[in-house]
């Protein structure tokens, strides 16, 4: 086969692939057989590159397996085939070294282009800092309309209840099971959003398939990534780097809103944050019932994954039910371990950095007065004093 013929063949293959890929513009719900096209230039490029490589592999497979299968039928001893004696040909060896090499170069060109595009986070319109925690994400808006807004995004309650061992809940009835969060990240459409991705503990990886990239969240590193979404919508993904017990339970949800909607959301989120901060820092003395109600929620989203909803713990995570610390007359030790983390066991994180004084007081109160525990309640000012 001459090089020109080969070139023609490769070009034909490429163009037929492009025709095929462009005619399949299906939507972004989970496709059961193939990579999704997604909603960004990067993801569409990844998809078409994926299809090109796939079809090249299919073509090579047809040739190689075809020859093999033909030989398996035509060159059988039972059909009287007598073995030929050839066992070497430099010409053939050179040919099947050079042809794959040319195919690879043809592949490397679009791959390089896409890679350069993905890695170029310059000229972004806004920046969101993404921090991985065991086992939730934190999002902090560094600039723009929502500047200063910061919140945690963890598995939503419906999924969290259903995923408990033998919960008895039919998970196929839970909406977006394991793919929904309590607080989604919200970004504006039509803007280049830059993400600064890092981690507070172990390595996580932030992935939204519809955006076409994943990037590891590594303690001590700040990785950069970006996206530019045109279509408003809700885009779901998951943590993709094994990060401990609940690796399978820390989804990523991003809602893209049109700019006007986004501004409204940002304003609402800001005032909500202000109100929460004011409540937390006020000198108000809270009643036990108020603290217990609030504490139950905080416990569910921050503590139950390890210490379990029934407070009995699991594996390396100790029980709180009947624990000496949680039932001691003085709450000081209990407040210390929750606010500052455990000195001896790194699995117990310092929640002082994640929760405000009110939430901490509420959850500590909850832990001291649930599952048969009966001990003093804790006020936000006690937590403040312990920080």
């Amino acid at each position: 086969m001459s090089v020109r013929k080969l070139k023609q063949a490769v070009m034909m293959l490429f163009s037929s692939v492009l025709v095929m890929t462009s005619s399949h513009a299906w939507a972004t719900e989970i496709s059961s057989l193939n990579l999704r096209q997604g909603v960004t230039e990067v993801s569409r490029n990844a998809y078409s590159l994926h299809m090109i490589v796939l079809w090249i592999c299919v073509a090579i497979g047809v040739v190689v397996f075809g020859a093999m299968i033909y030989s398996m039928f035509a060159h059988r001893k039972s059909k009287g085939a007598v073995a030929a004696s050839f066992h070497e040909s430099h010409k053939v060896e050179v040919l099947w070294t050079v042809i794959p090499f040319i195919i690879l170069i043809a592949l490397a060109i679009p791959a390089t282009k896409n890679l350069l595009l993905i890695e170029d986070a310059s000229n972004s319109d806004m920046t969101v800092k993404v921090t991985g925690y065991q086992w939730k994400w934190s999002y902090e808006y560094m600039d723009g309309d929502a500047e200063g807004v910061k919140f945690f995004s963890a598995l939503d309650k419906a999924s969290n209840d259903a995923r408990a061992m033998n919960s008895g809940i039919d998970v196929s009835k839970v909406d977006n099971y394991l793919l929904d969060v309590d607080n989604a990240l919200v970004i504006p459409t039509g803007k280049k959003v830059r993400f600064l991705i890092t981690s507070n503990d172990v390595i996580h990886s932030w992935w939204v398939p519809d955006f076409g990239f994943k990037k590891d969240a590594i303690p001590g590193y700040i990785n950069e990534a970006w996206t530019h979404v045109d279509q408003p919508g809700t885009y779901r993904g998951q943590c993709t780097e094994l990060c401990g017990k609940d690796h399978g339970f820390m989804p990523v949800v991003v809602i893209a809103k049109e700019e006007g909607e986004y501004k409204k959301w940002a304003a609402a989120k800001k005032s909500e944050a202000d109100a929460a901060a004011a409540a937390a820092s006020s000198d108000k003395t809270w009643s036990k019932a108020e603290l217990m109600a609030k504490g139950a929620n905080v416990y569910g989203s921050s503590c139950a994954a390890c210490h379990q909803a029934n407070g009995e713990g699991t594996g390396p995570f100790p029980a709180l039910k009947g624990s000496p610390l949680a039932t001691a007359d003085s709450a000081a030790g209990h407040i210390d371990i929750v606010v500052n983390g455990s000195k001896t066991n790194p699995l117990m994180a310092a929640y002082g950095a994640q929760l405000n004084d009110l939430d901490l007081a509420a959850v500590i109160t909850y832990e001291r007065n649930s599952w048969g525990n009966e001990a003093s309640i804790v006020q936000p000012k006690d937590v403040k004093a312990a920080r």
Binding site: C57, I60, A81, F86, P100, A111, G248
Partner: protein, 524 residues
């Protein structure tokens, strides 16, 4: 004096337990390695059954997530270090001396030691599962800081087990290199060696090069965990990404350590049943050496998502896809060997052909994964799981099974049961594809790996995959039955065993006598 000498010349295998404990005979040690690998295959396989049981339907039903993580971790470690690697060393022990016309391995006492470290290392590794806080639960790649600061106490035992496995591998490799370089029969020049010997020679160099790197990585983990260093702890000025670079500098050559001997096995089997010489012998040797060289400069393709500079990503992308060239050459050569041969399809050939087709599928997905901008989508999803099980199960493991079928008559002196073997082959091939092919789709649809639970959208393919896994697991019991039956008896095997078999190991009696080639054969 003369009687003692005569006894020494002609003694057979000693009997009892001490035969196996103190043996320096390459065939006995090969047998020990192979039985150890088979035992580990079943233990590691049972962990896979637990994984697939939990994943058979969405929701958490059987094991808690922490235990699930320790199952995925131990499954990987046991299969890589306990099953595949020792099986290939066992094959090398049995076959390398017989293929090059040597009476035994060059360093027989060290050979004994390299094997007997393994059961202790394996037991120590498995014992972690019963320790307080649970066994290692950070994946077989044990990325820091999950494996250092955040790991269970049993991790220190895991570290020592890895050290011991490393000693064993390094000693085994030195022995293989020493044997091949020094003990070839007169006339057995390097370029006349059977390909299995060639691939093992190159593999042994890879092992000596990278096992110390692994030892370094786990030693740094050990001091990070116990002696206050911060090699991998960002809070102390260390670097978690350094761990990944060191690990994969070991890890990538490691995956070729598990596949190069497989290439060797298949290159022995296909010519035999095609009754035609291997096509492109010298290009096979050069392709093996090229793959070995390239394996050292592609490691960071496992880390495309860690945030490397774009120049680094481009380098690792180009170097990675380049591996397709020598690997392609190998596959083309096997097909050309079959072409216009006189083919028969005894069981070793069936397994070898399944290897060629299914390993190539694993190679295709490997090429796809090498394309960095798309790897950002595939990375750490079930697509990767599908890929490496195609190369390691239908690649490495299938070649080991093919080798057992091919040489079992030589080892035992009996032919295996054809019908049992056919059942084993067809059930394995069908179920293995039901297990792993749907995992491509799961990964493309977005299911991450190493998760104990998933959205109902992934339910159908997971169900299929679990059914396939149970079937494949059960099918391996047929393999065990076949081996035991073949050892106990069966149709007497001829010396040549296979009509088209060529090579020194087929010129000695079946079963191979306890001592062979006391006098070196002449190779023309």
């Amino acid at each position: 004096m003369s009687t003692a000498h005569a006894e020494h010349e002609h003694h057979g295998a000693p009997s009892g337990l001490s035969r196996w404990l103190f043996t320096t005979n390459h065939k006995d040690i090969g047998t020990l390695y192979l039985w150890f690998a088979l035992a580990m295959l079943f233990i590691g396989g049972s962990f896979a059954m637990v994984i697939r049981l939990e994943l058979i339907q969405p929701g958490m039903q059987w094991v808690d997530p922490d235990f699930f993580n320790s199952m995925t971790t131990m499954h990987g470690l046991i299969m890589v270090f306990g099953a595949i690697m020792p099986a290939f060393v066992g094959l090398a022990n049995w076959l390398v001396p017989m293929m090059i016309g040597a009476p035994d391995m060059a360093l027989p006492r060290m050979n004994n030691w390299s094997f007997w470290i393994l059961p202790f290392a394996g037991t120590m590794l498995l014992s972690t599962m019963f320790m307080e806080g649970g066994g290692p639960n950070f994946g077989w790649t044990f990325y820091a800081p999950l494996s250092t600061t955040f790991a269970p106490a049993s991790t220190d035992f895991f570290i020592f087990a890895v050290h011991m496995l490393g000693f064993s591998s390094i000693m085994g490799s030195i022995n293989i290199i020493a044997t091949i370089m020094n003990m070839r029969a007169p006339g057995m020049t390097l370029m006349k060696m059977p390909l299995f010997v060639w691939t093992w020679l190159i593999t042994a160099f890879l092992l000596i090069a990278v096992m110390p790197v692994l030892a370094g990585a786990v030693t740094m983990m050990l001091t990070d965990r116990n002696f206050g260093t911060s090699f991998f702890d960002a809070a102390g000025g260390g670097d978690p990404v350094l761990f990944q670079h060191v690990f994969w500098f070991f890890g990538h050559p490691e995956v070729y350590i598990m596949i190069l001997p497989a290439f060797g096995v298949v290159s022995q089997i296909i010519p035999t049943f095609a009754r035609k010489r291997l096509f492109g012998y010298s290009s096979m040797v050069y392709a093996t050496a090229s793959i070995a060289f390239l394996s050292f400069i592609v490691w960071a393709h496992h880390m495309f998502t860690v945030g490397m500079p774009v120049a680094g990503e481009l380098f690792f992308l180009y170097a990675t896809v380049l591996i397709a060239v020598p690997t392609g050459v190998k596959v083309f050569n096997w097909v050309a060997t079959m072409w216009q041969g006189s083919l028969t399809f005894e069981l070793p050939m069936k397994w070898a052909l399944a290897f060629v087709i299914l390993f190539t599928i694993g190679g295709f997905s490997g090429l796809m994964l090498g394309i960095a901008p798309v790897d950002f989508q595939y990375h750490d999803t079930y697509f990767v799981v599908a890929h490496f099980h195609y190369v390691l199960v239908t690649g490495a493991l299938f070649s080991i099974i093919a080798a057992v079928y091919y040489w079992l008559p030589k080892w035992t002196g009996h032919m295996y049961s054809e019908s049992l073997g056919n059942w084993h082959f067809w059930t394995s091939v069908i179920f293995v594809n039901i297990t792993f092919f749907p995992q491509h789709f799961l990964g493309l649809a977005g299911m991450p790996r190493r998760v104990p639970d998933y959205n109902a959208a992934f339910a159908d393919f997971n169900f299929m995959s679990s059914i396939g896994a149970f079937g494949f697991g059960l099918a391996q019991l047929l393999f065990l039955a076949l081996i035991i039956k073949c050892i106990k008896g069966g149709e007497k095997a001829t010396d040549q065993v296979w009509e088209g078999a060529e090579g020194l190991e087929w010129e000695i009696p079946s079963p191979a006598p306890y001592h062979t080639f006391a006098e070196a054969p002449e190779v023309k």
